[in-house]
Homo-oligomer: 293 residues x 2
């Protein structure tokens, strides 16, 4: 199977599982379920669940339960997009080429839909079939990665507070590590934890996840400068307009590209311990740095 075929099959499995994890659009109260679905089924790349699955596969065979567990990451990622897009935060009208949740359903419903997606993520993990200690490890990993201390919310706060101020390296690195990096790293770690890793395997996944998370955010920053809105499916150039703390703003494009390559190589090195089983992790690392959106 080529990487594209592999990713397509994984994405389809994730879509099908997500479909079953959120109540139907006519289930009471219907508006909130429609709002959740509006944002969840908007053509996302499903990178986090795919990383979960590739990490789990690096250790052992996966099944439908792994796909369900992986979906918890997409629920959390989508909640973060819905809240980030709100007028009080990034004030974005367009996401993946469609109206954002608050544009389509109003601000109150968008806030509640985000809350509901986050809540559902933990309910999904708690409701898995696997051993309780494994499920608890997944809940803990996800909550910490989504939280305030070196987690997604922490990164979002520092990002907001950095707007319009001179970019400081220390703050930029914190934002990159936390805002996107923490959840991507958790995706990889959770895939490993689901499969039951050795200490060495979990360490390797941790390093791979950390590096790939940093590379991902640097490439995101670069694309905001170099790509068009059509390519991105969201408004390009927003970072510059909002005076966000970004890699290109601090280091310039060339140095940013060099650092992305450096993290990419370190991710490949970390995945080497899995041999043939780590093939998809290495291919995904390549894709993360080479993508155009």
């Amino acid at each position: 199977m080529t990487l594209d075929e592999y990713l397509k099959a994984g994405r389809e499995a994730v879509e099908a599982a997500l479909e079953g994890l959120v109540p139907a659009g006519d289930e009471r109260p219907s508006t909130i379920h429609q709002a959740m679905r509006h944002s969840l089924f908007a053509g996302g790349k499903r990178i986090r669940p795919l990383l979960f699955l590739a990490a789990a596969e690096a250790i052992g065979p996966v099944n439908d339960e792994a796909v369900e567990a992986a979906c918890s990451l997409e629920l959390v990622h989508t909640y973060s997009l819905v809240h980030d897009d709100l007028p009080a935060l990034d004030n974005d009208d367009l996401r993946r080429g469609r109206p954002t949740a608050h544009k389509a359903f109003g601000e109150a419903m968008a806030i509640l839909a985000g809350d509901a997606l986050l809540t559902r993520a933990f309910e999904v993990l708690a409701g898995l079939e696997g051993p309780p200690d494994r499920r608890i490890a997944l809940v803990r990993e996800l909550a910490t990665a989504a939280g305030t201390v070196d987690g997604m919310i922490g990164g979002q706060v520092e990002d907001l507070e950095a707007e319009g101020k001179p970019v400081e390296e220390d703050r930029l690195l914190y934002i990159h590590r936390s805002k996107t990096g923490a959840l991507i790293r958790a995706s990889v770690r959770m895939g490993g934890l689901w499969a039951g890793p050795s200490r060495e395997q979990l360490d390797a996944l941790d390093e791979y996840g950390r590096r790939i998370g940093l590379a991902f955010q640097i490439v995101d920053d670069i694309l905001d400068v170099t790509a068009t809105s059509a390519e991105l499916g969201k408004t390009a150039g927003k970072d510059t307009e909002q005076e966000k703390a970004t890699f290109p703003a601090l280091y310039g494009l060339d140095e940013s590209r060099r650092r992305a390559r450096e993290h990419h190589q370190a991710a490949l090195d970390a995945a080497a311990v899995f041999g043939e089983r780590g093939c998809r992790l290495r291919q995904i690392a390549d894709r993360v740095v080479d993508r155009s959106n």
Copy 2:
């Protein structure tokens, strides 16, 4: 120990535990931790954690870990208040006599602080010392009670959508069951689940929690009509002003009071199975219907 002494001791234990469960106001990123603390330490009655502890005590001895688990309910309750108060929802400036989170920290930080309190609740439960299967049961119970299907968010959505429309009985009962009722019922059930209940004990706690939740919300509706803002520590008469679906609006005050008494009695009956150990549950039920704020 009198009930007041018992509640005071419980409240102090909860305050002390909460203090340790949220990062200090100077821990990075400091603004979000200050915002979380602003709302969390605003003189709340801590009814949900106290119900958790009283339910656990009805089954067996409690310890510090029970208090920590109970705090997860206060984190979720506080998140729901922070988001409910936002301009897009209830647009409240005052809560427990103090500026609401968005008044004190701005709307973006209030949204993120609510998100963070919710996330932290699950992290706290996952990080307990007890058996993994018990912890997973608590995570699941909390997530379901806070969710969209007969849970807190579902009730909030129906409540919003009912504003300004003629009150329908079916919708009112759904709102009462879900908006406040689900989390109160979960408080009682989670206390039981923490202690390891028999089937009969969990059923009794479930019925007690359901009834007390309904009584609580009816009394809340009544107080909004009959009490002053000073007594409530929040703006009185908001329900009428916002044309909310309430018990007094549909049934009048007398019938609302009769129904509250009916649920109160059913809660006392359910708690009878615990004999002397259920004493606090019965006393708290009395307090819920007799309170003035």
